[in-house]
Symmetry: C2
């Protein structure tokens, strides 16, 4: 099934069930007022939502027109957002440009940071930028939402705790990252509010494209109206979402509604090289930092600037019939 949270003026919005083709919705208010409320009691609530989803599909219940622009992020605020780095090509690229080695441990021990989850941007909400020098970048990623996960869960069992899947634009302020990482405590100011896709879906909606807790489809990232990234989320994924959930739960329980991200989706080129921009026939990149690395590697210096007010990023994923699965994140950068 497909779920969304409509902006009804409240902090947590209104939970709705959306048709598979994203054209109509029915409010789930009589089942659970919000997505967090549904996740808090998922075992009891999800069969009722699934039944409503069937009715929505058959138009057996009154539905309204679904507009992606009216959607919040599925969880407008969450109790946990932790982001991994499943696509080591991204890490390799970022480090190659500054002549840093990728430690061997990165291939079996995932990188993960704790992100801010107190107020996400809506999928069509502007990205407020305080200073162009902060180096605003998009990061196109996959994310999942879990139910309650017990401390020490195995990778195998972790897969069963993935209840919903969605896309995310993990906004990053590249200009603030080096200084912040040098302090040793990880990202904070350099990771402002992220935005998630208008719709989240249960893994079964992905059909054969969902294998081993990885989505095997291209992530479509457009920048200022041009194709920018078409990396396949099923390729070069060193870690699955289940691996990342298990990593997060090593020393503590994870509360229902925990969001775990894949990190920037990134594919190697056909020869194991860092790949090419879409404009040169490659699969491109899901963030500006990567294309700047490519430019640095090949031309000695980055050419593509980071985002400034007026720039637009669009992130979407389509199924084998070219239908949008999650709706599109589409955000303009604006002066804060």
């Amino acid at each position: 099934m497909k779920l969304a949270t409509l902006n009804d003026g409240t902090r947590d919005g209104k939970l709705v069930v959306v048709s598979k083709d994203l054209t109509r919705y029915c409010a789930a208010s009589n089942i659970a007022p919000t997505l967090q409320a549904a996740l808090d009691n998922w075992t009891d609530v999800s069969p009722l939502l699934e039944a409503l989803a069937i009715d929505v599909e058959h138009e057996a219940v009154p539905c309204d027109r679904f507009h992606e622009r009216e959607a919040h992020s599925p969880l407008p605020r969450a109790y946990q957002w932790a982001d991994g780095s499943a696509y080591i090509n991204h890490v390799e690229l970022v480090r190659k440009a500054r002549d840093a080695e990728v430690p061997e441990s990165f291939y079996h021990d995932p990188l993960m940071y704790q992100g801010g989850s107190d107020s996400f941007l809506a999928p069509r909400q502007d990205i407020p930028l305080g200073d162009v020098a902060w180096g605003c970048d998009m990061e196109g990623e996959i994310a999942c939402i879990t139910d309650d996960v017990p401390m020490g869960v195995s990778k195998e069992d972790a897969a069963d705790h993935i209840k919903l899947v969605m896309l995310v634009n993990d906004v990053s302020l590249r200009g603030l990252i080096p200084g912040e990482l040098a302090k040793g405590f990880g990202f904070f100011q350099s990771k402002p509010a992220s935005a998630f896709s208008p719709v989240c879906v249960t893994p079964d909606e992905l059909g054969d494209a969902w294998k081993g807790s990885v989505i095997h489809l291209p992530l479509m990232v457009d920048y200022n109206g041009e194709p920018f990234g078409r990396a396949n989320a099923g390729v070069d994924a060193t870690f699955s979402l289940a691996d990342l959930v298990a990593h997060a739960a090593k020393t503590r329980n994870l509360g229902a509604g925990t969001i775990i991200g894949s990190g920037t989706v990134s594919n190697q080129g056909p020869g194991g090289d860092p790949g090419k921009p879409v404009s040169e026939g490659g699969l491109g990149y899901s963030c500006i930092a990567e294309i700047r690395m490519i430019e640095t590697i090949y031309d000695g210096a980055p050419k593509t600037p980071f985002m400034k007010p007026g720039d637009t990023v669009r992130i979407e994923m389509r199924d084998e019939h070219n239908h949008s699965i999650f709706g599109a994140i589409e955000q303009h950068v604006v002066e804060a």
Copy 2:
């Protein structure tokens, strides 16, 4: 006023107003069911809670006996928990033991990490430890809860967004920290669930002890029944809680119910030295890592082991009349 959240079997507990002497409470259910609900609408709700607090003080409403052991952390789960390092003596000590310099920037640019906030421990809940080799430590700290804070708030204005103050035991797994920090993304597995004091209070409850968004009282940390730390939270605070709130809000809004921590409370010795253990007449330390540093500095090697199952930590703060302000955090370590 003093507020607490009683464990009523729900995830978010039940908001109650507690008498100043911590002996009785009255449920605030008809005003706001949970503390988060109160914070979501603080301007309207807090005057009603203040009025109830006066009635509780005068026994003008039916009250029940308040037992600290029945309390959750004031926010059993939160949308944000970010912890700073206001007490640079702690940072200096930790670095001195490994011959690392404290960068000059640390004295004007606070360290801060994003913590997990999806499920806190209750103030009397056991600390589950998966492996003694993880090096379990307590960290006694002050924390505040904010309402909605706008991006870019000044330090001056930030002070007005501090609505509630409490204590925290920021549980740390020292054995996992070096490896995790070396990866560059900050703490994750090394910071399992924290616990907060049974009661949180509005800053006015602190009277003259609340000056410049700092509490000027000793933090009493007992370890296995013996005094372990008596550092004054008003001494050697390089940053106030307002400074830390402003730091957190530099690039993004902070949602209502954001918790910001002070970092481990730590005082220098009388001559600017690292101080002495309580057993030797000093003010001691609010975490085991610091006493291990002292042992390393003076004796070449740490002597005090980290916590193991059976060990107990108690964290409390008393006013000038020796009355407990927030109730006590008291936790046993148990095998997970």
